[in-house]
């Protein structure tokens, strides 16, 4: 679990990993060393104050070189919110995150519909719905029309918002790379791992890391 300058969900992410039975290892963006972990989590927040574009500066931190190598070797990498933005800017995931079309910061639970079977979603079948909160101002995933069908055909689009919440292309909420080992989403599974918080559906995505 990597802390960047301006990460703010790193403590929640560490706890979520423990909740699903994993051993959480805090990592620092300034060290190009993953300390032999079995999976990597990039948490939410506002790295580098969201200056330039969200995630655009964090992608050049020393640890991101190590993350790219880890991902290329097939390691499981999950990016949540700002972590998703960083992975897109780094080219490890398709698309880019842009400002919400509503021009408002949105903070509420959303329903997400499973689009493809994936280890990231446990045994949830296509069409199943999960509930996870979102909290973002720049959460509209954008991808050019060209290539969108290929992502779908390759099973890289894992979740769609049940209704349009932020203007994302085709309501896409969660995507993977071509190999499927790198996954990113704007909703916050680490905030949905305890019944006290209203949903435990987030255990699916975080649980994939603990199983690695």
């Amino acid at each position: 679990m990597i802390t960047f300058l301006g990460s703010l969900d790193d403590r929640d992410a560490l706890r979520a990993v423990e909740v699903v039975g994993g051993e959480a290892v805090p990592l620092w963006h300034g060290a190009a060393d993953l300390q032999g972990v079995d999976a990597v989590l990039l948490p939410g927040g506002f790295s580098y104050g969201d200056h330039l574009r969200c995630g655009a500066l964090a992608r050049f931190t020393p640890i991101m070189g190590a993350v790219a190598e880890f991902a290329a070797a097939g390691g499981s990498v999950l990016g949540i919110c700002n972590g998703f933005q960083i992975l897109c800017e780094a080219g490890l995931l398709p698309g880019v995150l842009t400002p919400n079309h509503t021009r408002r910061f949105i903070c509420r639970d959303v329903d997400l519909v499973v689009q493809a079977e994936s280890p990231w979603l446990g045994d949830r079948p296509v069409g199943a719905s999960i509930t996870v909160p979102i909290k973002h101002g720049d959460g509209a995933w954008f991808h050019p029309e060209e290539g969108l069908d290929a992502l779908e055909a390759n099973g890289q689009i894992l979740l769609r918002y049940a209704e349009d919440v932020n203007g994302a292309t085709d309501r896409v909420a969660c995507v993977t790379n071509a190999a499927g080992n790198v996954c990113g989403l704007m909703p916050h599974p680490e905030h949905a791992v305890d019944p006290l918080l209203g949903s435990i559906d987030g255990r699916l995505l975080v649980g994939r890391l603990a199983a690695a």
């Binding site: 698309g95 509209a140 050019p144």
Partner: protein
């Protein structure tokens, strides 16, 4: 040498910032039907060679300053 990089949203890409500004200008009574909001970066590149300055401008624009999925850029030397 001074290098200026102008970054603009690509045509057809939703631009909430421009839309918000357009709404305010319209509210003030200005006859403005569209606003596109981009960014200007003024770089002081440590070279006296215009070609090298342009190369640095283009490389930083393509790699860092703009995301070409959604933005286009223009590099002006001097």
């Amino acid at each position: 040498m001074r290098v200026t990089v102008l970054v603009r949203p690509k045509t057809g890409i939703r631009d909430p910032q421009g839309e918000a500004i357009r709404g305010s200008l319209a509210g003030l009574g200005y006859p403005v039907s569209e606003v596109s909001a981009g960014r200007i970066f003024d770089l002081e590149v440590d070279t006296d060679d215009p070609a090298e300055a342009e190369r640095v401008g283009r490389e930083t624009a393509g790699r860092v300053l703009a995301n070409e999925l959604i933005e286009g850029f223009e590099v002006v030397v001097g």
